[in-house]
């Protein structure tokens, strides 16, 4: 644990021994050039739960999320220090094969980003690239993942149409389907509903709640109602630090830190 010198913080400790954890980080720092975007974050994420990361823009919540499957590695001049444990292996170590790791820790982004391929290929293509050749098996995975993402009924007759012809909400659910088709353990979502209308948003939220039976979900959101609605745990980020991490209902009803209360009650941010 790193101590915050400037701010009070309250971070619940989840038991690392009980094998109930999907992922935990120790003292993560992220630097963009000279700028320290994350200043030592240690959090643990419980299996089959939804954890929300909230906080004002620029607080580092997305940066932290993107370091969990090392997507920040792809940005020039970025340095990440600290440890990220997944199945007792530090996946932030240089010898880790990021491609294998990302198969286990999937990600969905802020803007829907389907490939300019057919709906079917959007899901099947990455699987094929990972060596799955069996046509029947591919068909099956496409169907089940589309069903899990609550999209199957709308697209089952148009599987070979371009994914770009779908609505924004459908595209985002396709991206979720594409991510879960890889059968990851953990799903990271970076403000997945911020570009969507309210109806699409509620569909995506429903999808996520259904998915937590099988996956551990960590979601960044700027929408506090959303965090309150869907997540089991919530972490409040501010200026690169975690100020408070607790069960969601506690964060939204009896926060222990004044700043958290100010934020969740809408007094700043």
């Amino acid at each position: 644990m790193v101590e915050n010198q400037v701010q009070d913080s309250h971070i619940i400790q989840l038991d690392k021994k009980e094998k109930k954890l999907a992922l935990y980080t120790e003292d993560i720092h992220v630097y963009y050039g000279q700028n320290e975007a994350i200043k030592g974050v240690s959090l643990a994420f419980e299996k089959n739960k939804i954890t929300s990361l909230i906080g004002p823009s620029g607080c580092g919540k997305s940066t932290y999320l993107r370091s969990l499957n090392r997507m920040n590695d792809e940005i020039a001049n970025t340095k990440i220090t600290g440890k990220i444990f997944y199945r007792d292996i530090d996946i932030n170590a240089p010898e880790i094969d990021v491609y294998e790791m990302r198969k286990n820790i999937g990600m969905v982004f802020q803007r829907p980003n389907p490939f300019s391929k057919s709906i079917y290929e959007n899901i099947a293509f990455p699987l094929k690239r990972h060596g799955l050749k069996d046509k029947a098996k591919l068909d099956e995975i496409v169907e089940t993942s589309l069903k899990q993402a609550a999209l199957w009924d709308q697209v089952k007759d148009d599987l070979h149409k371009s994914a770009l012809a779908l609505s924004g909400g459908q595209q985002q659910r396709l991206c979720i389907a594409r991510a879960i088709a890889m059968e990851p353990d953990i799903l990271l979502l970076d403000e997945p509903a911020s570009a969507l209308d309210p109806i699409s948003t509620s569909k995506v939220e429903e999808t996520l709640i259904n998915l937590k039976e099988k996956y551990t979900i960590i979601i960044v959101t700027h929408n506090m109602q959303q965090a309150a609605r869907i997540s089991d745990y919530t972490a409040f980020f501010y200026m690169g630090n975690v100020i408070e991490y607790d069960q969601t209902r506690k964060i939204f009803t009896r926060p222990k830190i004044q700043q958290t209360e100010d934020y969740v009650s809408g007094h700043f941010g």
């Binding site: 199945r87 292996i89 996946i91 010898e95 880790i96 094969d97 491609y99 294998e100 790791m101 286990n104």
Partner: protein, 307 residues
């Protein structure tokens, strides 16, 4: 068959190997291009300076001499390799064609960006693109069959010479200069124009005093680009200039450029001979000038950016 998760996470996967392969492959491609550039510079330079290092010709008599007859010797026993006629010819056609083309290019660009963007986009834009696409030998052929006789009829003489070369190059560089000037005018912020018009200036005053003035660096870059193209153009000029290695006395007598003498001569000389080496020295001048034009556009760009 399934290895442990630890093993899979720490072993270098097929994907990692593929990534190394792909990155190396694309690096080799870019390295190849850089290698080509370096070897062009090296080989042309080393052949070009042989005139001075092996054949003992002084740089002064090469750049300043006006007698060009590499197989003959002058009264002082030195070979006659004065390149000044070609250097003069090249610079003359370059400057003259740029001087003629610039107002046309600016006019067309202003027309397209300020006066009638609709007509400009529908008619002028495709016309300019098609003009770029016409091969230089076709320009040369038209120059030979239309421009040269026209010059002959109006000004007398053979019709071959600097003037005919200027006409041909004017048409050839016009599209390049125009489209780059259009880009330059397009980068002038909209609110400059609005501010000027709101102050009661007419459209022309706005164009002349505001738009063109703030686009000067971009327009200069366009003109230098056009000049670089004119300076390096070989066949079209060679076909209409007359190819006489004489100091141009007027605009309508046969003259020559670096490229024209190079094109005519390279096939008729023996590698390694003085006659051949001086041609490579001409090529070296072309190469150096192309670098100079390149540096000029960079300097203009920097100055423009500082303002």
């Amino acid at each position: 068959m399934q290895s442990s998760i630890e093993e899979r996470l720490t072993k270098k996967s097929k994907k990692a190997k593929l990534e190394t392969f792909g990155k190396s492959l694309s690096f080799i491609c870019i390295a190849f291009i850089v290698l080509v550039v370096i070897s062009i510079l090296y080989f042309v330079a080393s052949k070009g300076i042989a005139t001075f290092t092996q054949n003992g010709v002084s740089i002064g008599s090469f750049l300043g001499g006006t007698d060009w007859n590499p197989s003959g010797k002058g009264a002082d026993g030195q070979p006659l390799v004065g390149a000044l006629p070609m250097i003069t010819g090249s610079f003359l056609v370059t400057f003259l064609s740029a001087i003629v083309a610039t107002p046309f290019a600016i006019g067309a660009a202003v027309f397209m960006t300020e006066i009638s963007p609709k007509m400009g986009k529908k008619i002028l834009q495709p016309v300019i693109e098609l003009l770029v696409g016409i091969p230089s030998v076709v320009y040369g052929f038209i120059g030979l069959t239309v421009v040269v006789p026209a010059v002959r009829n109006v000004f007398g003489g053979s019709g071959f010479g600097i003037l005919a070369g200027t006409f041909v190059l004017f048409v050839m560089i016009l599209p390049t200069v125009t489209s780059m000037t259009i880009d330059a005018l397009n980068t002038v912020p909209r609110h400059y124009r609005e501010a000027s018009l709101a102050l009661g200036a007419t459209r022309w005053q706005t164009v002349y005093k505001v738009v063109l003035r703030s686009a000067i660096p971009g327009i200069l870059t366009a003109v230098v680009f056009g000049m670089a193209r004119a300076f390096g153009e070989a066949l079209a000029v060679q076909m209409v200039i007359g190819n006489a290695a004489l100091m141009p006395g007027n605009l309508v007598s046969p003259a020559s450029t670096l490229t024209s003498i190079l094109t005519m001569g390279m096939g008729n000389t023996v590698m390694g001979s003085l006659q051949n080496n001086v041609l490579w020295s001409l090529a070296l001048i072309l190469l150096v000038m192309s670098l100079v034009f390149n540096i000029m556009t960079r300097l203009i760009g920097k100055k423009g950016a500082m303002k």
